[in-house]
Symmetry: C2
Subunit: 319 residues, 2 copies
Amino acid sequence: MGTAAGEPPFHPAVLFIRRPGAPFANAMHQRFRVLDSLASGEPLAAFLAAAAAMPDPPRAAVIMGGGVVRADAAFLDAVPSIRCLVSTAAGVDHIDLAECARRGVGVANSGTVYSADVADHAVGMLVDVLRRGLWPVQEDYAFGSTLRGKRVGIIGLGNIGSLLAKRLEAFGCIIHYNSRRPKDSVPHKYFPDVHDLASESDVLVVACALNKETRHIVGKDVLEALGTDGIVINIGRGASIDEVELVRALKEGRIAGAGLDVFENEPAVPSDLLSMDNVVLTPHSAVFTLESRSDLCEHLICILEAFFSGEPLLTPVLP
Amino acid sequence: MGTAAGEPPFHPAVLFIRRPGAPFANAMHQRFRVLDSLASGEPLAAFLAAAAAMPDPPRAAVIMGGGVVRADAAFLDAVPSIRCLVSTAAGVDHIDLAECARRGVGVANSGTVYSADVADHAVGMLVDVLRRGLWPVQEDYAFGSTLRGKRVGIIGLGNIGSLLAKRLEAFGCIIHYNSRRPKDSVPHKYFPDVHDLASESDVLVVACALNKETRHIVGKDVLEALGTDGIVINIGRGASIDEVELVRALKEGRIAGAGLDVFENEPAVPSDLLSMDNVVLTPHSAVFTLESRSDLCEHLICILEAFFSGEPLLTPVLP
């Protein structure tokens, strides 16, 4: 849409709840009047009150995951003009979806922006855990294990899980999966029960969203079913695994190893994990690629522009 | 073949030149009379002389790679009964192939035993290098890079290179390759010149055998062609890269990173590499999986039994 000469272009207000140090704000400034929680320097409550009191209060908010804020009834009450919440994360466990649905607030997530990167990261961690011996030299010829022939049980065969399956098939892995329903177009064996999936798997990958059903979906029993040669990879959400039980199983040798990008109480990581040499840890960084960052920017702008022009959200998330 | 009751089965003598700490000897003992360089406790020259002086001197030798011995004219002179040399390594750079050919000594290598593991390891290292930020947490959100769309130039499209290409295609990489000749059945773009390959690649993977033609095939010019965003992976042989130039290029930021499983003067590793955070190092361990160890045992026995029964070697290596 054109603007008269000399008239500044109209930039709708967007609330941006940002994690310290996190990028992305600059690209947003070119399209929107960004009300940046971090740049404001104010406590969150005061920041939200000020935004709500503006003559043109924000109708959309971008919310970073990772414990900055929980977008619940109190949050929505604080800025009642908000009709659209966009999560920069694939997960929306920091957004009260039921409350949003009740109020007619649209919610979108990062869609498939990160999926390939997270799948790639999962493979990288799995190779590392299977090989154990990164530097220094193991004088006694510590042997790792191979990928080919490994039965990998994927919990959650959404976009990430599917891309992971595709990659692991190229390594000669056998893919099993659990999800709420079997997928029609998928050749892999479906397990309606996670315990059974673990029993039939050498590697268990958590790639599901975190919700009531999946919280602690990998607990003591499932770890026991996975067994002493089993490996757990988590590139989903920390709380999908009972972390206390996972650490205990690793310490006691009841499972063989783990690759973890996410933790139950981030940024806290159980100190026991840091000293284990059969564990590979990354700091929730599976999504951190330059390409994803750029793709996310485009994705956010696309969603927000669609919202402001009255179009339905491109990646609606339903409770 | 049957043996008379009470008569011990015939076990042909096999010379086993073994690296300290290396396994495999036990499985061999069940089939062969193993003359073990390590178990003998003697200096190599005395050990070889004693073997040659036996009434039934060994006609076959298993030689571990990694600088234990060079199987050259002097070695073959020391035990002239040897008609078959089997390398436990994929590489045969520790065997003088021309001298063996001249004497009619058959040579076999590990065949494809390790290929999948080495290909897997290369992918794991590439993911790690691209992501850079393994633990600890990068407070300033260090961003890695993604695999999809990356142009990977593979030097040497033998068994390992082909398996690597298959894996990387599942990640959305674009495969280019260099080898002595273009491969007929391969859809990837062939570059007769490594410099050109590097110019057109984001990642350069050394997966070729080490020989006169490939020694320092990746030198200063090739690294310069790869460029400041380029990554080098070496799962072939250390000396295929000019290591001094590689370290220099990494230090000066003329390439972006490296993943190295092999080094020019193993077990020595340039100390500069150890402190670089854009470098992932493993101690020539790509092949060290339990599955490969088991497969190698079977492979060695298969080759030796074929040799002793007068069959042609299964994996002849020609100079």
